[in-house]
């Protein structure tokens, strides 16, 4: 018992020391990226690691606004990739952000689209349950713009904290439809159907990426950003359903 306690204590102190980068060159790049980039950035990270032996890319995927808050509160990040320019603008340490992809909304439905949803107007049908992202997060802001452009009055049953959570509610069958990014719907194509709708053109999300001031590994961070913006990077991103900037 006592030995376990000492071990736990030692572990706690050991972990506390881990946050500091090793002296000299650091071979880890810490990337904070929007939840909607999960699949494409994970594979981009693997490719980058293959091309740069000895380098590890660590990801923190979450809603862009949560990431922006974490970074502003001092979370150790080298690169920030946001799903919206507003969240990037909120990060005071971002160095000259550039748009690297664009994304568009689709309506995610259960496989086979059992409720026969063809457009935003169908989502107002009584008894139909719809999940949207909260207006505070980029996918929710985009959803708001699209719904307004369609001129429909839409009452969702829940406002989810990020696009993945909204998608999960459709996968579970708890809601009949959710407004999600085309890329998220594509990543879940085995379980879901995606319905395109014209008003999504009014709410295209631009994704900016930037190296952060005070990055532990600025050179690596810049290399990663360059890689994301390279032809190879764009190929992975467009295959996931993103549009070129």
């Amino acid at each position: 018992m006592r030995r376990a306690g000492i071990a736990a204590l030692a572990l706690a102190f050991g972990l506390a020391g881990c946050g500091a980068p090793a002296a000299g060159e650091s071979s880890t790049i810490t990337v904070f990226a929007a939840a909607s980039l999960t699949e494409s950035f994970t594979s981009l990270g693997k490719q980058f690691e293959d091309a740069h032996r000895g380098t590890t890319v660590k990801f923190n995927f979450a809603g862009s606004s949560a990431l922006a808050t974490q970074i502003n509160q001092g979370a150790p990040a080298d690169v920030f990739a946001s799903a919206a320019p507003t969240n990037m603008a909120a990060v005071t340490s971002a160095v000259s952000p550039v748009t690297f992809v664009k994304n568009q909304l689709v309506i995610a439905t259960a496989k086979g689209n059992p409720k026969q949803i063809t457009g935003l107007a169908d989502l107002t049908r009584p008894g139909l349950k719809v999940a949207l992202c909260a207006p505070e997060v980029p996918c929710g802001a985009a959803a708001g713009t699209a719904v307004e452009a369609a001129g429909v009055e839409l009452t969702p049953v829940t406002l989810e904290q990020d696009v993945k959570a909204a998608l999960a509610k459709v996968k579970l069958g708890e809601v009949d439809a959710a407004l999600v990014y085309r890329t998220d719907a594509a990543a879940a194509a085995a379980a879901l159907d995606a319905v395109e709708f014209p008003e999504s053109a009014t709410a295209i999300n631009e994704y900016p990426i930037a190296v952060l001031k005070g990055a532990a590994n600025p050179a690596g961070a810049q290399e990663f950003v360059d890689y994301v913006r390279s032809a190879d990077g764009l190929r992975v991103l467009t295959a996931a359903g993103f549009q070129a900037p």
């Binding site: 909260a134 505070e136 049953v157 829940t158 406002l159 989810e160 708890e174």
Partner: protein, 262 residues
């Protein structure tokens, strides 16, 4: 207790532990925008979330009392096969990450769930995205706190009174209502308070099972998270402070009176 020399080897980590628990709360107070506090408190969204939180936590506690006191009695007073397993199962929500609890609830009571599918098809009742769903999520997470407290109280209570009542001809039900319940009332109250405080702070199971919609399922913890997500740190701090103040007040007021009882 008399004053005694405390070994440094105990004192230092004890103080460390205290600081570890208090420092984050101090951080919250340090960042509180006192000047705009009142104005933020009266914002309708905050009031709605607080009202919903108080209502659902109270209903969840009520539900826990109705289900949990008999369950605790069963565990403390009746010997039956598999009692240890039952007790272990009851404590599972204590250690389960609340999000996992939320997923489990969805798979059981959701529209496509084990029981929820039947409820939906037969009665048109669907718990997710309703205030009732919030109560269910909170009760699921808080019930073990009540059962464990009440079971402890029952085990600590002198059974001779119950035996005397039984010898005098009281039925088991009469003994329970007239002797056992008054005997362990402080324990039940303590368990109820813990249960209520836990329900008030519930986040993971609620957002996973009941969703997040202002006025219907958005409780204070969810409002805190959403405010934080929107980059409004000051707003999140204020909401956190309200939640903290409510919890600490209740816990402090009741702990000395009831939690110290066996």
């Amino acid at each position: 207790m008399t004053r005694q020399r405390v070994p440094v080897a105990l004192l230092v980590p004890a103080i460390g532990g205290l600081i570890f628990l208090i420092l984050p709360l101090a951080g919250l107070l340090w960042r509180t925008p006192w000047s705009t506090l009142l104005q933020r408190l009266t914002e309708p969204a905050v009031a709605a979330a607080l009202k919903l939180s108080l209502l659902t936590a109270s209903l969840a506690t009520l539900l826990c009392l109705v289900l949990g006191v008999p369950l605790a009695w069963l565990l403390a007073r009746v010997v039956f096969p598999g009692r240890r397993l039952v007790r272990a199962l009851i404590t599972v929500p204590l250690v389960l990450p609340p999000v996992v609890g939320g997923i489990a609830l969805l798979l059981a009571l959701g529209r496509r769930g084990l029981l929820g599918g039947w409820l939906d098809e037969t009665f048109g009742v669907s718990l997710p995205f309703t205030t009732a769903g919030v109560v269910v999520a909170e009760a699921f997470v808080a019930l073990p706190f009540l059962v464990i407290s009440v079971e402890g109280a029952l085990r600590g209570a002198d059974t001779r009174y119950e035996e005397a009542a039984a010898t005098l001809g009281a039925s088991r039900w009469t003994t329970f209502t007239h002797v056992t319940l008054p005997l362990v009332a402080p324990g039940i109250a303590a368990g109820g308070v813990l249960c209520w405080a836990r329900a008030l702070g519930e986040f993971g199971a609620t957002i996973t099972f009941a969703g997040n919609y202002p006025g219907i399922t958005q409780t204070m913890p969810l409002a805190v998270y959403q405010t934080m997500e929107s980059g409004d740190l000051d707003g999140a701090v204020v909401l956190s402070l309200i939640l903290l103040a409510v919890s600490v007040t209740i816990l402090a007021a009741l702990r000395d009176r009831w939690l110290a009882a066996p």
